[in-house]
Symmetry: C2
């Protein structure tokens, strides 16, 4: 070991050596300490004891969970029955109840007295009973996905879990359980309907060009888009107290340039209308309901200066459910 | 009209005026001719008389049509029966028959004598009887889509037309009629099978992770990719005379990072094996067939250093076909 001028003086030699030795020891100790610190396991947040009990779904609200938006009018008994079911659906983040019972108190006290509940439920009191109240861009909405359900429709948890997974693969579409179509007639006037209408004539089988939002998943961004539509659209929906779903399909089709919806064939979907004590039967029982919807299709074509709806014949089911070989064939 | 110096001389005036007048007339005539030419309808190629009779599908071979590739060994009677059916499928561009009957003449003479045929059929004579002969990047292939069929499988035209339309919406996937899956065991060893195997455990219902290429549409680009795989893959397929389809699913899954296949539930798919006069029964009757395929899965995981296959539970059917309300529900 080469030693320079400061080593030459014997009187100082011992002191310098000690100093050097001590420095080396300190440096080595620091290095060892640093190495140990780097090797220690990281204490992540989720391993720390959760002192406040929070529902698990709250931690990742964006793409892994959805918000249920359910508008209700004059069927509080059905609403509460359905909430008992829907509040427990996997991947549900929150429920927003759009309260169209003007002047009537929300059942918040009763709801809280029957807690705890799996997810938060927000009751949004409305000023006017409007069909399009459910299409507001609610500030409480935190998830990318919305599940919109009519307050008389029961869809099984299995169906919903599967449809949500399908929506995650088709996030720009309305993924739901109720397909409908329009057809054009030689006069250029459109008609609205379902399987009873003739096929649009694209090959064999039937086609659909809309998926109704009363039992469907769609991207919350479309609620934002809905706020920016021509006034005539709102006027039409308010005039008919109908057709908000047709308007949404127009919006989505215009946005994507593709068929607005993806139809998932439900295994178990039920209409509980007959079970209500309120005596109130839905809008679709009105004599003019379907005619009104044809009227809406034509008005919307007018407003948007074109027919944006596109046909699809894709029907999606869940592989191996409910029976594990629902795909067996003669092969 | 102002007239400058050249107007001053009376002797030249008449001549100049005439010249100017003539120029104006000529210019006007040219403008009119130009306007007329612009207004004439465009004569497009497809409106010109087609002097040579060409099948309609030849005009746009890329995305609107597909090529059928059918490998055949020792079942010429089935091949010819199936060709009579498949040659007439809508959107078919061409048929490539991969002739694995080594040393045997292709039935080209007989085929031609029974013409005309809807599409060209090319018989590709092979040097060696190899399972992977059908996975060559044939120069005759002009379309983006390939339909690969086993020479004992009959799928209805309706199913094929629908599945082709589905492939057009999922061009990077293998879109077909026969789903299979792998499962992993606690030991890390994989097993291959179908509905009889336990579910992979992702929610309820079953899952599939492969779609067999013996009855499926896929992008012709994958045949190109297949030529660039590790040697060990070819050796495995040659050793087993099996598993080329499993290898293709590995290839596609690695390429997309998604489930390799999309399963379309067939309405009418039949195995004609028992109808053959050749007495030859397919490879899948060998006792070790399924075990071999499990073996292949594990070997491929080894070769590719990982398991790229992903699960899907999407099952696609044709809306409103065969019966126009196959989507009706209790609602």
């Amino acid at each position: 070991m080469r030693c320079l001028h400061f080593c030459k003086l014997p009187g100082r030699v011992m002191g310098i050596r000690l100093l050097r030795f001590t420095s080396v020891v300190i440096i080595v100790l620091l290095l060892v300490a640093g190495a140990l610190t780097a090797l220690l396991p990281n204490i992540k947040d989720d391993k720390m004891p959760n002192l406040r009990r929070e529902p698990k779904a709250q931690s990742q609200p964006t793409l892994d969970s959805f918000t249920l938006i359910m508008q209700t009018y004059n069927r509080t008994d059905l609403l509460l029955k359905l909430l008992n079911h829907y509040q427990a659906i996997p991947h549900l983040h929150k429920v927003i109840v759009v309260w169209n019972n003007i002047g009537e108190k929300v059942p918040e006290e009763m709801w809280n007295s029957l807690g705890p509940h799996p997810v938060p439920v927000v009751f949004k009191v409305q000023a006017v009973n409007r069909m399009r109240n459910r299409l507001q861009n609610f500030p409480e909405l935190e998830t990318k996905a919305v599940l919109m359900m009519d307050d008389d429709t029961l869809v099984s948890a299995h169906d919903l879990a599967f449809a949500f997974s399908v929506w995650q693969q088709f996030p720009e579409h309305i993924v739901g359980f109720v397909p409908r179509k329009h057809i054009s007639t030689p006069s250029g006037v459109y008609s609205y309907g379902s399987f009873e209408l003739q096929n649009p004539g694209f090959g064999n089988g039937d086609q659909y060009s809309m998926v109704l939002i009363g039992a469907a998943f769609f991207h919350s961004g479309y609620l934002e888009d809905f706020q920016r539509q021509p006034e005539a659209v709102y006027a039409l929906i308010d005039e008919t107290q109908n057709c908000d779903d047709i308007a949404m399909n127009f919006l989505v089709a215009r946005h994507t340039g593709k068929p607005s919806g993806v139809f998932v064939k439900p295994v178990d979907i039920r209409n509980l209308e007959k079970d209500t004590n309120s005596g109130y039967s839905g809008m679709w029982h009105r004599a003019e309901h379907l005619l009104q919807r044809s009227y809406c299709v034509n008005k919307l074509v007018n407003i948007y200066d074109g027919m944006p709806l596109k046909y699809s014949n894709i029907m999606i089911s869940q592989f191996g459910f409910p029976n594990y070989a629902n795909h067996k064939n003669k092969m």
